[in-house]
Subunit: 118 residues, 2 copies
């Protein structure tokens, strides 16, 4: 959990409010968020388990955390089917799809400029 007040948090809030770049980076900047977003761009829609199995190194807790943050920020949606065993499907929202060109540019830049042998 975050503290209710700290210089750290105040700085974050202030920067995000005044700098579009920082705001965008804050939305997509978690350790596993790029991977999640990329999968959803690829598959369109994914069940939790399939997503998880496509990311062998995340722990469940962290994966859920990142999914919740993306959901709270309006980038992905979570649809629960009332079945047993449960079924939950994740997909990009309209806002999430608006990110596509941004994500592709970030991806292309990284692939083009990552040092050789990195």
């Amino acid at each position: 959990m975050r503290k209710e007040s700290s210089t750290n948090l105040e700085n974050e809030v202030q920067i995000n409010a005044s700098c579009g770049m920082a705001y965008t980076l804050d939305l997509i900047g978690g350790r596993w968020k790029p991977t999640i977003l990329w999968r959803l761009l690829d598959y369109g829609s994914l069940r939790y388990n399939k997503l998880r199995k496509s990311m062998p190194n995340v722990s469940e807790r962290i994966l859920i955390l990142q999914l919740r943050e993306l959901e709270n920020d309006g980038l992905i949606s979570r649809k629960i089917y009332p079945e047993v065993p449960p079924r939950v499907e994740y997909k990009l929202t309209e806002l999430g799809w608006k990110l596509e060109p941004v994500l592709r540019l970030l991806s292309d830049w990284g692939d083009a400029n990552r040092p050789i042998g990195y």
Copy 2:
């Protein structure tokens, strides 16, 4: 300082190596890096003191840390003039300038999609 080995670090390394998006985000993702890069896009070249005064909320230590990381990652250069009092000028490298379209897209997206009243 970072540990030499930890799951955290291993995950970071592995993701950055396999995902261009994550790699790019890692380069520009510090708290004050967007602001620094934006200033340098704007001014072309900036002395340390002028940069600092344009960012009243960073502490010196953190500003220097972020500058060093950007320098180590090859995005900015640091030129020392052998004068007293000292003079140090920061500017974007060629690689740094290549980021310009990425930064502008991130900025535009954030400004366009940040919730009202945020």
